[in-house]
Point group: C2
């Protein structure tokens, strides 16, 4: 069974996942062609655990090959649903059993097409299913947070090339989200407003870091971008929680994601990237202060000892330049 | 000129370094052979700015090719010594001019030999010169912290293969060190002791994570290792500040570093790695509570969206296993 351990100095948790090691050893490589060995291609459903849910035509049944979108448990889960957290000390250290959830959303039967190449209706269904999995997993009171993320390209840590989104349900709130929520609280205590809302207002008034916007969402290059072409996608109105998204907002969200990814394609030529979804933690009293968003991180450079030592970043590209390049790309 | 910008939500700083971009474009690649194009090999002193200090025989003069250890300013500095910080707001955002220092310590004339292959006396002189540069740079009251780090191997972000250590003097305390110091304070307020001292005591009593120790230093695989084979080297007695090291401690420090790097060689086969030095910030009133140390990070895997989204880590190898492999390697 996996184990969660807390660094006693910084409070940072680490998931020790021995089954994950097995996955690293047995996973087909990123360059795996469609068909042959890809466990996520249609016809290979027996290579994965039975599906949790799927988008399928009326004439198909669970786990046959006619699916359009498919959610499965990770065959080599980082965390498992079964068992007890069994929080206890180990001398001065703290540990938990590796309880949580680890699901994979396979975006389409197509081995090559990512979100930016799929029809808008299909993308809307992908995000809708992601939202529905969040709503379902939230019912488990042991889960404090779900980290949804995408790894695209080997350089971004993708083990399987077939486009998919991962969800890891955690019994603890991630440090990144806790830090952001703390910043949101500090600003709210001082100014009585949401810092993300204020940031959207400022970056709309002086739009040099603006990449795109539509009726519900805005995409911008953040003022202190950690890496070249980092992009944040935020709802323009204050919404703490991703699971509150309605049909038209889902569609607007997919539209702006597709647009940013297409602009990445044009400017950066099929870059490896990650995106991560940050939403309000589930069992935190003032989580309504949070402002949910998606962070896109092109993986163009390797991190050095400076980033490790400081948690600060050296970025050779100003966000104003990155935003201009992306805005001016013809799509 | 470079610019420092602060993320208004998390307080994380980013260095926007346009000259650094130039360095990325013009630096010889990691695989550069000795001689020919390497700017750090003897005889190529004119390719670097004039030296700040050097270890040289009596019959040599500054910037000739007879040096044994050499410290130079980075030709493409991330931060510059000249100028004013000029801290000011940019609407709701905060910025500073890119003031600081960026020096490179070239470890030896040898293009291939790292610390683990150099004579112990030479290694002691390398660390001694590093200490002396810290003492000198600390006199600049604008510099709050010096991040010393090593990138070994292209995968760890090394642009120039010739072994060297970088120092970046910062006008702000790194987030990582501030987080660690905050943890040290919390523990000290509750228990009246240093958390690192207690951690050394516990890991010596149950030595399953112990890798090595000598009269002054201990090397251990931390309980919540972020990556496989992460190693911390700590002084066994409480010392806040790296610059307090005397001659025999310098030698003991090099000896344990050489030993751990040699064990990495045996077990991990010339891995890319970073090491970072964490010491007490210079102008913090209670910085004496801190416990200086070196963190070694083998770079075996790529980070995924999970690490980006959470600042938590998924590690397939328990530190008890890593420590055993390293201990049992014959050196």
């Amino acid at each position: 069974m996996s184990e969660l351990r807390k660094d006693p100095i910084t409070g940072r948790w680490v998931v020790f996942a021995t089954e994950f090691r097995q996955a690293l050893n047995t996973a087909p490589q990123s360059g795996t062609p469609a068909g042959s060995l890809c466990p996520f291609c249609p016809g290979h459903e027996s290579l994965t655990p039975p599906e949790i849910m799927a988008q399928r035509p009326a004439n198909s049944v669970a786990n046959d090959s006619k699916w359009e979108i498919r959610v499965i448990p990770n065959k080599f889960p980082v965390l498992r649903v079964e068992g007890l957290l069994d929080s206890h000390g180990d001398g001065m250290y703290d540990r938990l059993n590796g309880i949580g959830a680890n699901e994979i959303l396979i975006e389409s039967p197509d081995h090559l097409h990512n979100l930016d190449n799929l029809p808008i209706e299909h993308g809307e269904q992908v995000l809708g299913i992601l939202r529905d999995r969040f709503i379902d997993l939230k019912k488990d009171i042991r889960i404090q947070y779900i980290q949804a993320f995408k790894n695209h390209g080997e350089f971004a840590g993708a083990n399987v090339a077939h486009p998919h989104i991962q969800m890891i349900g955690l019994p603890i709130v991630p440090k990144t989200v806790a830090d952001e929520l703390e910043g949101v609280r500090r600003y709210h205590a001082y100014r009585g407003r949401c810092i993300y809302c204020d940031l959207i207002r400022q970056d709309t008034r002086t739009p040099e870091r603006l990449i795109s916007e539509n009726e519900f969402f805005i995409a911008l290059a953040p003022y202190a971008s950690r890496v070249p072409f980092e992009t944040w996608i935020l709802p323009k109105q204050h919404h703490a929680d991703f699971t509150g998204l309605g049909k038209s907002e889902l569609r607007a969200c997919v539209r702006i994601m597709q647009e940013v990814l297409t602009r990445y394609q044009r400017v950066l030529k099929d870059p490896a990237y990650n995106w991560v979804l940050h939403t309000a933690p589930f069992q935190t009293a003032d989580a309504h202060l949070y402002h949910w968003h998606i962070e896109l991180i092109p993986r163009l450079a390797r991190f050095t000892g400076f980033e490790w030592g400081t948690d600060y970043y050296i970025n050779p590209t100003l966000p104003e330049d990155a935003a201009r390049f992306l805005r001016e790309a013809s799509i």
